[in-house]
Amino acid sequence: MSNFTTVENKRLHVYRKELDFKGIPLSGFMGGVVLGIESTAHTLSFGMVDLDGKVSDSYSNLFRPEEGGIHPREAADYHCSQVSNLLNGVTNSEMFKQNNVEAIAFSQGPGLGPCLRVGASIARTLSKSWDIPLIGVNHCIAHIEIGRNQTGCIDPVLLYVSGGNTQVIAKSREKYRVMGETLDIGIGNMLDKFARNQGLPFPGGPKIEKLASEFTNNLDYEDKLIDLPYGVQGMDMGFSGMLTAAQRRVLAGDSLESISWSLQEHAFASCIEVAERAMAHTGKTELLLGGGVACNSRIREMAQIMCEERGATAYWPEKKFCIDNGTMIAELGRLLHNVGFKTSLEDSSINPMLRTDHTKVIWD
């Protein structure tokens, strides 16, 4: 317990009180499940996967800041207020009632410290009071594993596009390695910021997608592409220049629809280009999309076209498994549980900077 911070201890105390209502689930039922807890940023979410890999829906709550971007502490406080509600949902579900919870998995990083601590504290509490193993997992890798679980792809290049992260990841020598990534802001963050400055509420991505798709109803829309900086540097990307230029075009009087469409075209093309380069470099023939921005139908279409043109296959899970969700944490937890991995209380500290290539891939 030595490396718990005071804040964590306080929070832990709160959760204990909240969780006493359930105690140990009844035993003597048929199968087992792993419960996963996600809390890296905006989303607090619980989900389950049974030992054969069958998934449940997640029980999630999204923190929407009243104004501005995410404030980590405010998000964490909000998550705290939602714990009982969500856990009630989980414990009343059929999957929970009919199975034993065999292990608790949680996002150990990367993410926002205060938010991560909420999930970690709930996980430690449940693991202790139900006397089952605790498994700390890497959030980015969980996106890959839920994608593999849902789509059946085997050894993909992952294009992970979300608010905070924009990375191209591929497995090489027993580790998932980052082949390319953003050097400034995440792509989702760029879209959200643009939307926010135009008075569109969080999350901005879906609103921009709608505006962009309205623009494509114009007959000659393709000729009206607004020139924006295209931020590809080898395998790396940048989106802040694009954002600044797009905002200037708003001031210059271009329509929001045309800028939204042009912004999507430039930003998505740079991601797909880097993903294609990673596929050429590694010789892999599967592309997997993950992260909240992977819900966008235009980036999915681009991924599909790129893969078809090079004789590869594009995959993406349903939207509910693209966005942050507890089920994906449970799935990676299940894979680790299957090979007997557990995280001791002493090693369960969160790590906001947890690297993708820190985790050795010891599962299939």
């Binding site: 990083g109 990367p110 905070g164 992260n165 990375q167 591929a170 090489s172 020598r173 580790k175 390695r177 980052v178 082949m179 390319g180 990534e181 953003t182 050097l183 400034d184 393709e222 000729d223 592409l225 020139d227 295209y230 590809v232 540097q233 080898g234 395998m235 790396d236 075209e265 430039h266 093309a269 797909i272 280009e273 294609e276 380069r277 596929m279 050429a280 470099h281 590694t282 279409e301 681009m302 991924a303 076209i305 790129m306 078809e308 043109e309 090079r310 900077m353 947890l354 690297r355 993708t356 290539d357």
Partner: protein, 227 residues
């Protein structure tokens, strides 16, 4: 004569095609001969996922920068392809062929290749001293022959008169390649950097190797979750 990706019927003067060598993310590379010389045709076929206007712009931009950089490097006898011919509208460039394989393969085949990585570092410094940044330094974009001579290719993302930032980015892009694709060489990046500093000519009016390396270290700190 058939061409990959919709070039049927188009004629390229003096070009006799042999085989498709590589279908990369950017271009299809075909070997053949041009006026009896061993040559390579790089065809940047349209990428269907990009909206046509953006695709045309990028293809044109990258072809023309590649042509200008190759011309410039020829004047300095830098180990890079010679430019034979190009067509901006149809998106191809015809260049000399170098008998060698990607450093990527060479590093994987012979695990005692630290010296080659150092040599690569030296070559990058030489390029930077000519006032050019590459923009896409990976171990697939440098070829090596049986005498360990290196030959740099693929200048589509290059810049003439780069800023310090672009030079630092070159090292960062290579850093990510070495750590993700060649993780068996534990200190590959340090070796590459030592080669880079060693061949610093220390001439005035040139951005020094140490300035570039310190910018590289700054850029390295910008990526997510660095150690």
């Amino acid at each position: 004569m058939s061409h990959p990706n919709g070039m049927e019927g188009a004629t390229i003067p003096m070009w006799i095609e042999d085989i498709v060598m590589h279908k990369g993310a950017e271009a299809t590379v075909t070997s053949g001969s041009w006026l009896g010389k061993s040559a390579v045709l790089k065809l940047r076929s349209p990428r269907g996922y990009r909206t046509p206007k953006l695709d045309k712009k990028l293809t044109r931009q990258r072809l023309s920068v590649e042509a200008r950089v190759l011309g410039r490097l020829q004047l300095d006898n830098f180990p890079s392809p010679s430019l034979y011919d190009l067509d901006l509208d149809n998106g191809w460039i015809l260049i000399s062929r170098f008998e060698g394989k990607p450093l990527y393969d060479s590093l994987n085949e012979d695990l005692n290749s630290l010296e080659k990585i150092k040599k690569f570092g030296k070559l990058i410094r030489k390029l930077h001293e000519f006032g050019i940044s590459h923009g896409d330094l990976t171990t697939h974009n440098v070829l090596i022959d049986k005498y360990d001579n290196l030959h740099l290719i693929d200048f589509g993302l290059a810049r003439i008169f780069p800023e310090l930032e672009h030079l630092g980015l070159d090292l960062q892009v290579l850093n990510e390649c070495l750590t993700s694709s060649h993780s068996e060489y534990e200190n590959a990046v340090d070796i590459m950097l030592s080669g880079y500093s060693e061949s610093d000519s220390k001439l005035p009016d040139i951005i020094s190797a140490s300035e570039v390396i310190s910018r590289f270290n700054e850029i390295r700190g910008r990526v997510r979750y660095h150690a």
